[in-house]
């Protein structure tokens, strides 16, 4: 291939070092309303300088009504308008809302289950378990579950009521909802604001994993860093088996984003908003365009919570089928479910005053501190669980939110590893079959719908998630609780 192509930003972005893990983009252009701030180590920062990440951060700093700074997190990389791995908070009355600040995969997120099993106990059944999960949870291109279909009317209720709708129909346990961000139900969801195209895409895809970087893993607790908090989250000892589900709102959310980007393009002209990049298309928070987007986005957020809820239910069912015992016997409790792509109305203290702001988290995890009312009651003394998935075959992390995050990042931290290598480069360098063999040599069972996805998702194609978690911990915006490593991987 070797296509010559300009990857670099259109201009050099100046940086001032604050400390080993913090850099500032000063207000070097008159249009910048606030500075940019980057949380990264030297190596992660240098990677960001090879594409448009920092330039995009300086663009976000120009959004009307933005507070304090445009934030890029350690896993930041170039995205659509906004960097992925970024946070921006805008004023409730005078700020803007932008679908690009949430992303195409609305409420792409992670859910973690704990079990009472140890690695040694699960080993004999690991391969049949992975196989059963692979059969029960549709994944890959065009996947759908033949025996779980819902009507258009059901879909309307599901996106309004969130995970409770599924729990009421037997897909889940009563206590699941309270261990989801927003209780698995974002308020103000209004299906009238969602297009029929989005709805028809959503109908066939509920309860499917998708493909690309989405995955389902059986893992074990590799190392506990904070005993007290880990215990509160149900992670009691090293070697304990966990299950992680990483996916989003599928075609439903993608279409909501697509539809509203178009609406916002018109809104930019209507409200005469001056932007450095068309991809930042947005509307004033108090406009009908922005309110419609928020109501449609909430539907997609709930769709994604339900998607992960249905998948979790079939994971529990898979344990039942393989062991022929009640899944409760193995724990299989929901530790937490967090969103990585979302915009939310939150109250944050800005220069000593509590203000209502629209927090855009795009490739960012909410990281609320102990004693915050949004943290589930049984975790409140510890803080909110933060779940950071690694790439295929590498570790994933459980962190906990902090007061420092409220001060520095509007209560947010990183969301994942972030790619280092293009998909085509990874495919040239690796072959899916080899990747599978290499993982299996390390004792990791692999079930994947696509060999090319295996090659594209090869571990060296990603930044090291351990470094990302490390920077978060050092900066203090979410601190380490436990590291998880996979023992079985199911991929689309």
């Amino acid at each position: 291939m070797g296509e010559s192509e300009s990857r670099a930003a259109p201009e050099r972005v100046p940086l001032e070092k604050v400390n080993d893990y913090t850099w500032q983009i000063p207000k070097y252009k008159p249009a910048m309303r606030v500075p940019g701030v980057i949380f990264a180590n030297q190596a992660l920062l240098e990677k960001m300088q090879t594409d448009r990440t920092l330039w995009q951060c300086s663009n976000v700093a120009q959004l009307p009504g933005i507070y304090k700074h445009a934030i890029t997190l350690p896993d930041g990389h170039e995205g659509y308008g906004f960097p992925i791995g970024g946070v921006a908070a805008t004023d409730y009355d005078n700020g803007v809302i932008s679908p690009g600040g949430v992303g195409y995969d609305i409420n792409c997120g992670v859910r973690l289950l704990s079990t009472t099993l140890t690695e040694a106990e699960i080993r004999p059944k690991l391969a049949p378990l992975a196989e059963t999960i692979f059969r029960n949870v549709p994944s890959g291109l065009g996947s759908r579950r033949k025996d779980f279909t819902i009507s258009s009317r059901d879909l309307e209720s599901l996106v309004v009521e969130g995970v409770q709708w599924l729990i009421n129909r037997g897909l889940g346990w009563a206590e699941d909802a309270e261990h989801c961000e927003e209780g698995g139900h974002m308020a103000n969801a209004n299906p009238d604001k969602v297009s029929s195209t989005a709805k028809s895409r959503g109908l066939t895809q509920i309860g499917t994993l998708g493909s690309g970087n989405h995955f389902l893993e059986i893992q074990k607790v590799d190392k506990i860093f904070n005993q007290k908090t880990a215990k509160a989250f149900g992670l009691t000892h090293e070697g304990q088996v966990t299950v992680m589900i990483h996916c989003g709102s599928r075609g439903y959310g993608h279409q909501v984003c697509s539809d509203y980007l178009r609406v916002m393009e018109h809104a930019v002209q209507k409200y005469k908003i001056s932007l450095p990049d068309r991809e930042l298309a947005c509307a004033p928070g108090n406009s009908s365009e922005a309110r419609d987007y928020i109501e449609a986005m909430a539907c997609a957020v709930n769709y994604a919570f339900c998607n992960r809820q249905a998948i979790m239910h079939w994971v529990r069912q898979s344990f039942q089928q393989v062991y022929r015992e009640d899944p409760e016997k193995f724990g299989l409790k929901l530790v937490y479910d967090v969103a990585h792509n979302i915009a939310k109305l939150e109250t944050h203290n800005i220069d000593g005053i509590d203000k209502k702001v629209w927090v855009h988290r795009k490739g960012a995890t909410r990281a609320f501190p102990p004693n915050h009312s949004a943290v589930p009651a049984d975790y409140r003394s510890e803080g909110q669980p933060v779940l950071i998935p690694g790439s295929m075959g590498t570790s994933s992390w459980v962190l906990v939110g902090t007061q420092k995050a409220m001060e520095l990042t509007f209560g947010s931290t990183a969301h994942g590893a972030g790619r280092m290598m293009s998909r085509s480069a990874a495919k040239r360098q690796y072959w899916g079959g080899d990747i599978k063999t290499a993982l299996e040599k390390r004792g990791i069972v692999v079930r994947a719908a696509s060999a090319s996805v295996l090659a594209e998702e090869a571990d060296p194609a990603y930044k090291n998630v351990d470094v990302v978690a490390d920077v978060s911990d050092k900066v203090g915006i979410a601190t380490k609780v436990a590291r998880l490593v996979p023992i079985a991987v199911v991929k689309g």
Partner: protein, 149 residues
Amino acid sequence: MSKTEKFAGKFEFLEHTADVYIRAHGRTMAEAYENAALAMFETMTDSDKIAQTKEETVEAEAEDQYALLYNWLETLLVKFETENMLYSKFQITDWKETSEAFQIKAKIWGEPFDPKKHPQKVAVKAVTYHRMVIIQEVDRVVLEFILDI
């Protein structure tokens, strides 16, 4: 014959860290659109394994040529997701431009997705405007766009 040779002159995949970056070519805008659509289905599966057994007609409409390219690809993506259809032949039959709108009609040929027959590559989440480029010269057209996956 390598992939690169097979689609030479039609499209190629460019380097992009997270997503799929496509450059499609044509002697005319219509031909470039047809190749752009083929590239999208080649992203999802081996397009030469998609038999052209069913003929359908689709339409796309937009206010400018960037939005038209976006809508054309999105229309085909939505057909895959909602009707489970894959396509490997595209023919733009009608191209209308007025000061307010661009409209196209196309005949498309394909068959239902069958995981046993069609090797799975990666699912496309969305078409995007990111780094979208449309270059129109007298005798050639180049389109560049990124698919979110």
